[in-house]
């Protein structure tokens, strides 16, 4: 098989490339240059491209660089800024996976005649009957099935996640064994286009006008404080909103651009038992799934535990109250055993 491996320059995708090459496939590595601006998060840097190129050379496979900076701006950065302006909180890594790391990479693979696409994500592809299904990675701490939870059934047939079946320590051991220069490389965890030293506020302030806003108590309607920028507040946030008369941290429940105000309440009252879904955003990893009140496990944030919920086309009914979830976040639905991805939709 001809396999195109997305190599970020990190250890996981290095080992993914090694395993695919060692399995005897015809392999080419490709590094996606996504962000053209300043970065100190160690993502998309020239040094990462060099690491990927060097690892590819060590493995004896071709390596190419695809420049997708314009597409990254269009599909990830611009919507990220627009969402903050609108008071929602998108997950840029999810949108990057959706549109670029998988979306565009599949197109490139088609045009260049590759059968499969491989990445270093910690998730598993299993075969059930004739269908490829997406499951949680073997390493529970590194599981990334959430951020690839938008993959559709037709994608799953063409994806390889070679390191998803192993613990991170095994991945590093394989890299060390093969002398790959990325073996002990630190992980990148931040949003790649936001400089760690300057932060989200600085980034957004260069792209939009930040709006000062009042902090308003939901029950009494009184102004209890103010925030510097409405755009930096996320529904569910507790930091920076002060404490109520009982000494409890206030929780943001509504971002109201028209006033402008951040509506807050107590942690107890903030909790929700249902969430709205954007019906236009559904993806189905299991194509036969018809979700009309089915009881599933839903995951609402990266690395958050799943909760049981009844899933409807436009909303979720949760089995227990949870902290509020910002619009724009992805909801990934797993089967009742919390193993296999069924579908995903964006919180409205």
């Amino acid at each position: 098989m001809k396999v195109l491996v997305a190599m970020s320059g990190g250890v996981d995708s290095s080992v993914a490339a090694a395993l695919v090459a060692e399995a005897g496939h015809e392999v080419a590595g490709v590094t996606l240059k996504l962000w053209g601006g300043e970065s100190d998060t160690g993502c998309c840097s020239v040094a990462d491209v060099e690491d990927a190129r060097r690892v590819a050379a060590q493995l004896g496979i071709d390596h190419h660089v695809l420049n997708l900076t314009e597409e990254f701006d269009h599909f990830v950065v611009d919507p990220y800024v627009a969402a903050h302006a609108a008071g929602t909180t998108p997950n840029p890594c999810v949108e990057c996976n959706r549109h670029l790391k998988f979306g565009m990479l599949f197109d490139v693979a088609d045009r260049l005649g590759f059968d499969m696409v491989a990445t270093g994500h910690h998730a598993r592809i299993a075969t059930v009957g004739d269908e490829a299904v997406l499951q949680r990675g073997a390493d529970a701490n590194k599981d990334q099935s959430y951020v690839v939870g938008m993959l559709q059934a037709e994608h799953l047939k063409r994806v390889l996640f070679p390191v998803g079946v192993m613990e991170k320590s095994e991945v590093r051991a394989i890299a060390t064994e093969r002398g790959l220069r990325t073996a002990s490389k630190a992980e990148s965890q931040d949003v790649c286009f936001i400089e760690r030293s300057k932060g989200r506020r600085n980034f957004l302030s260069t792209r939009l006008t930040l709006t000062p806003a009042a902090i308003v108590d939901q029950d009494s309607g009184t102004v209890v404080g103010e925030v510097e920028a409405l755009e930096l507040i996320t529904v569910g946030q507790r930091q920076g909103l002060g404490v109520d008369s009982d000494g409890n941290r206030r929780v943001a429940v509504t971002i109201d651009r028209s006033r402008p105000a951040v509506v807050v309440t107590t942690p107890e009252q903030a909790q929700v038992t249902s969430l709205r879904l954007d019906p236009s955003t559904w993806t189905f990893a299991v194509p036969t799934a018809e979700l009309n009140g089915d009881s599933l496990r839903v995951q609402l944030r990266s690395h958050a535990p799943s909760v049981e919920a009844r899933v409807f086309p436009d909303h979720l009914e949760l089995s227990k109250a949870i902290d509020p979830i910002a619009a724009g976040q992805l909801c990934v639905m797993f089967d009742a055993s919390d193993t296999t991805v069924i579908a995903s939709a964006v919180i409205a």
């Binding site: 080419a28 020239v46 491209v49 071709d62 660089v65 695809l66 420049n67 260049l112 005649g113």
Partner: protein, 381 residues
């Protein structure tokens, strides 16, 4: 069967010629590295250096004092922008290599002068009539001998003539790095105050370049200490590299005088005809109606992405370029095509095939077919 591999990226740098390697090896072994010293062995090295300098000077028709050896083309261009002493402003063409354009921005700021640009036509040639009047008397002016992406030869002599006509005395620098392998530089050198040439474009070593700095041209050095190169560039010279440069430059001159460059032009024309013949309207050739380097064929394929085309060509063994590559290897939209007002759709599908006098006739048809098939595959998928 081993895969056929054809190198069509000579504009990025030509593989070292065997005769160059031989000459360098002789200079690398048996001599102490430093030509400065009060003893016979240093003098032996100095003698080799002096000989190479004289050869380069003679090939370029200038005096040995006008030759400055530096550590590569980018350094040569950076240093050239520190010429001219007290200048009234800087005017730099928008199609210069970043070694000129980025350094020009820094130098204009550092020297506290304005930085102007030039008009460029759709064929990628600077429009002298539209530009000259905007160049102030006393300015530092940069116009390359030929563009490294499209191969379009630039009107350096015409620009100088026009400026003289206008009564404007300027310091004129011309980056001939992209041109030197296949272009007679006599005219450019006769009109420019500084001309830069890099070794690796000639089949010589990388990390060695020459600046022709005409007598009386003030130059504020970048690297100081040691007083080498008449205090215009400090640091022990890379004598073996310089010997390699001199050899490569001599071989390039022989290519020009022996008719090998003319033959190269025929190969390029055949390659162009084959591709255009098959793809017709599906390909646009840059700089076809203006004088261009015999080595260059710059093509634009609307609807095709350069980086994907290069991947596919690479898989088939054809080593080419989009024309501009950053150090990460990622292709970006070229500032040259921007200056030519090429549409985004065409600029994204740019391909530069750059040949050399080492290109064999046998490979020309294969290159054409490989490009045609790759473009068709990407368009049909």
């Amino acid at each position: 069967m081993t895969q056929r591999v054809v190198f069509a990226d000579h504009a990025a740098g030509s593989p070292l010629k065997p005769a160059v390697a031989e000459a360098m090896m002789a200079a690398l072994t048996g001599l102490p590295p430093n030509p400065s010293g009060a003893h016979r062995m240093a003098r032996a090295t100095a003698n080799v250096l002096d000989g190479a300098r004289e050869e380069v000077a003679s090939l370029l028709g200038v005096s040995p004092r006008e030759i400055v050896f530096v550590g590569g083309g980018t350094e040569a261009c950076n240093l050239a922008l520190r010429a001219g002493g007290s200048i009234s402003g800087m005017v730099v063409s928008p199609i210069e290599h970043s070694a000129i354009s980025m350094a020009a921005q820094r130098e204009a700021q550092r020297r506290g002068v304005g930085l102007g640009s030039m008009n460029v036509g759709t064929e990628g040639v600077v429009d002298v009539d539209a530009t000259a009047a905007r160049i102030p008397d006393g300015a530092l002016v940069a116009l390359m001998a030929a563009n490294n992406e499209t191969g379009a030869i630039q009107p350096v002599a015409q620009l100088r003539a026009k400026l003289i006509e206008l009564g404007h005395t300027v310091t004129l620098i011309s980056d001939a790095i992209g041109a030197a392998a296949v272009m007679d530089l006599t005219e450019v050198i006769s009109v420019a105050d500084i001309v830069t040439i890099a070794g690796h474009k000639l089949g010589g070593p990388p990390g060695v370049a020459v600046m022709v700095v005409k007598e009386g041209t003030p130059l504020d050095p970048l690297v100081i200490g040691g007083g080498q190169e008449l205090s215009r560039r400090g640091g022990t010279q890379d004598v073996a590299g310089i010997v390699g440069f001199a050899t490569a430059l001599r071989l390039s001159h022989e290519d020009l005088t022996s008719g090998r460059v003319a033959h190269l032009g025929q190969q390029r024309d055949a390659l162009q005809a084959a591709i255009v013949g098959e793809l017709g309207d599906g390909v646009v050739v840059s700089a076809t109606h203006v004088p261009r380097l015999a080595s260059h064929l710059h093509l634009r394929f609307p609807g095709v992405r350069s980086d994907e085309l290069l991947m596919l060509l690479d898989q088939h063994g054809l080593c080419a370029s989009a024309g501009s590559a950053c150090s990460s290897g990622a292709s970006t939209i070229s500032h040259v095509l921007e200056a030519m007002e090429v549409s985004m759709a065409e600029a994204k599908g740019a391909l530069r095939l750059s040949l050399s006098t080492s290109t064999v006739d046998d490979d020309v048809e294969w290159m054409a077919n490989t490009v045609i098939e790759a473009v068709r595959q990407l368009r049909n998928a």
